[in-house]
């Protein structure tokens, strides 16, 4: 195994002192050291947003928010796992928006806090994917949903920005709302529509 020749590093994860090879992620380091880790583990590829950790690196006071499966351990690093993200209090149903002229009005009703953004940049700073979250919220408030949604392409719904927001805006849900209304009202592919029409007329059958 190449692990034997690897450099070993010392880290503290959830208060446990661990020595493990340097090329392991924080989750792998816990497992390597024999500690169970079930909650807050998901895809292990950085797209499910489950393994939310707060990290402080040696020699700094700064605490960063990252994904546990994507963060490799470093000497002197302190890591704490967060579990059970709280669901947002915002609810909506796309079908209650009658047409695309009314999206902005519905947005203000569904996300009344979005307008109260203090521009503290807590959401942007906490995003492990480097998304310009605050700018996305601002664009959504102006009704520029397509642009806002584009900013959230890499969003994995880890909910860090929700936790960070002092106004309870739920910026990630704002982002997904912006993306969803864009598809719901504006994705009208003629190749798909044509195919559906052909199927409706029974022109495309499978041979028995």
């Amino acid at each position: 195994m190449s692990n034997k020749t690897e450099k070993q590093v010392n880290v503290t994860i959830d208060g446990k002192a661990i020595t493990a090879p340097a090329d392991l992620s924080t989750i792998q380091a816990l497992w390597y050291a024999g500690y169970p880790r079930v909650k807050g583990v998901g895809c292990l590829e950085g797209v499910c947003g489950s393994c939310r950790i707060m990290v402080r690196r040696a020699g700094t006071a700064e605490v960063t928010m990252e994904l546990g499966c994507q963060t490799l351990i470093e000497e002197g690093m302190e890591v704490n796992f967060l579990v059970f993200p709280t669901p947002t209090h915002h609810t909506y149903d796309l079908s209650e928006i009658n047409n695309s002229w009314e999206v902005q009005a519905h947005f203000s009703r569904i996300f009344p806090e979005a307008d109260h953004c203090r521009h503290c940049s807590g959401c942007t700073t906490s995003c492990p994917k480097g998304i310009s979250v605050e700018q996305g919220v601002e664009l959504a408030c102006k009704g520029r949903f397509r642009e806002a949604g584009e900013l959230f392409i890499e969003c994995v719904m880890c909910n860090f920005c929700m936790t960070a927001c002092p106004e309870f805006i739920a910026p990630n849900h704002v982002g997904i709302f912006a993306r969803r209304v864009t598809a719901y009202f504006h994705t009208r592919p003629s190749n798909l529509i044509n195919r559906l029409e052909k199927l409706r007329r029974g022109e495309l059958q499978i041979m028995e």
Binding site: V38, C48, V156, L196
Partner: protein
Amino acid sequence: MSKGIHYNEALSTYQPLRERPPGEENLPPEKLLRDFHPDFYANSVTTLKVGPNKGDKCHRQLAKLLQADARIDEADLAAAPVRETDVLVIGSGGAGCAAALVAAKAGARVMLATKLRLGDSNTVMAEGGIQASIERDDTPQAHLDDTLRAGHYHSDRKLVKRMVMDGPDVVRWLIQQGMQFDLDKFGDILLRRAGGTSANRVAYYRDYTGLEMMRVLRESVSNSNVEVLDYSPAVELLSDDIGHCAGAVIFSLKNCSYTLIKAKAVIMATGGIGRVHINQFPTSNHFGATGDGLVLAYRLGAKLRDVDSFQYHPSGLAYPQHLAGTLITEGVRSAGAYLLNGRGERFVDELKSRDHVSSAILRECTEGRGVRVNDDTVGVWLDTPGLELRNPGILNARFPKLVQLGRRCNTDLSASPLLIYPTLHYQNGGVVIDENACSSVPGLYCVGEVSGGIHGKNRIMGNALLEIISFGRRAGAHAAENSHRRGPKKISLEHISNLRRELTLANMPMALKGPMLFPECAKFEIDTDYDGLRKN
């Protein structure tokens, strides 16, 4: 594995080239599979000794799980609260969410129990896209033919027919949930080609198709009447006095207690089994892919099929080691990337079906033409620099997830290739279902990877995302419609007693308990937080 060209040597002789001559195929395809595909490894298959598939072939590692003892018995449930619903969905990937949404919309009371967080699944990791015959020259018939051929004609034709005819409407339904697709300048859906198929038929969103689908469905479910029970794995199904499925026992990881859920219909959508590491392969699968649904359904009497057949995706990352098994989308080969052995030669038509390409990679590695890092790590090159040379800018525009992966490997994908090796990706078989996703046990539906019959012995890219929505919707609609007809039932664990009797009569060991719930590496069984799940 001592043979191969050393990594440093292979990398130093590697040259980014625009064009390379195609590889020569010198083995008949069937022989290539027989000689190199892991499904044909000696001693990997055994015969099931108990249950509805007694006497049938099954992979050895899966057979162990299917013939394991139950985690619980009646005594464990003495004080457990009982709740009631019309439809209980188990699993919250694409299939489970689609089923729950459709059943709730049809007026049924729906509960959705999921082992971890809502949306934690293989769906969220899917990259390549979703098949639907949309392009002008394409037809559902061609889609059916491709699916049957790639599956070596082991599929259930009726199921495939339903799925391909559903294809375009599934894409519309997803757009109506708010899912985006990559479009051309006229707003038409862009389509790419899957390996082993005859037309451009895969709709996609970057290489984030599954992520885009899952975050939309998750949002949709959270905003519906569906009651979500998260961190709540199902540990057993419930049967009624005539052996029909009558609900499930779930265990909450949040407060370490059991709840009995009485349901008129149960929709099993628990996904696959990659984290069991069939044949010791690395896996591209989610942490929770431990085959729980297969075990629970089998125990209740549901018939399985093709449980000796698994898919090894050709392009799993081989190096660096801590990322081994991570998936690289077939979309990269579809866009034109070559596969190269240690000598820099192409050795296979990169767009053949997955079982064929994986077998060819394993052949290169076995016969000493692979790239060797150390005794554990060998692979072949995925020639991303060549792709970028032919199509400047394509990596950043189409494959942002891959570019991020390159960054984590400290590799500039436009200058250096990545080392890849087949990764355990998909369970081709599963629970036998009909066109409404009903299993052979009344009241039990199975959808998505846990079900079998659609993909035969090999799946093509994009058919998994189509299947989960197509059959998820079918199961949800059928379960909601028929739940009204079923009266209240007595619930019992009678089937566990039958299992134990059969196991004893067959002289089987009873030490292993199932379902597995979490991979070994997570050490769930020694986690003192979850004492309640261990027997006294």
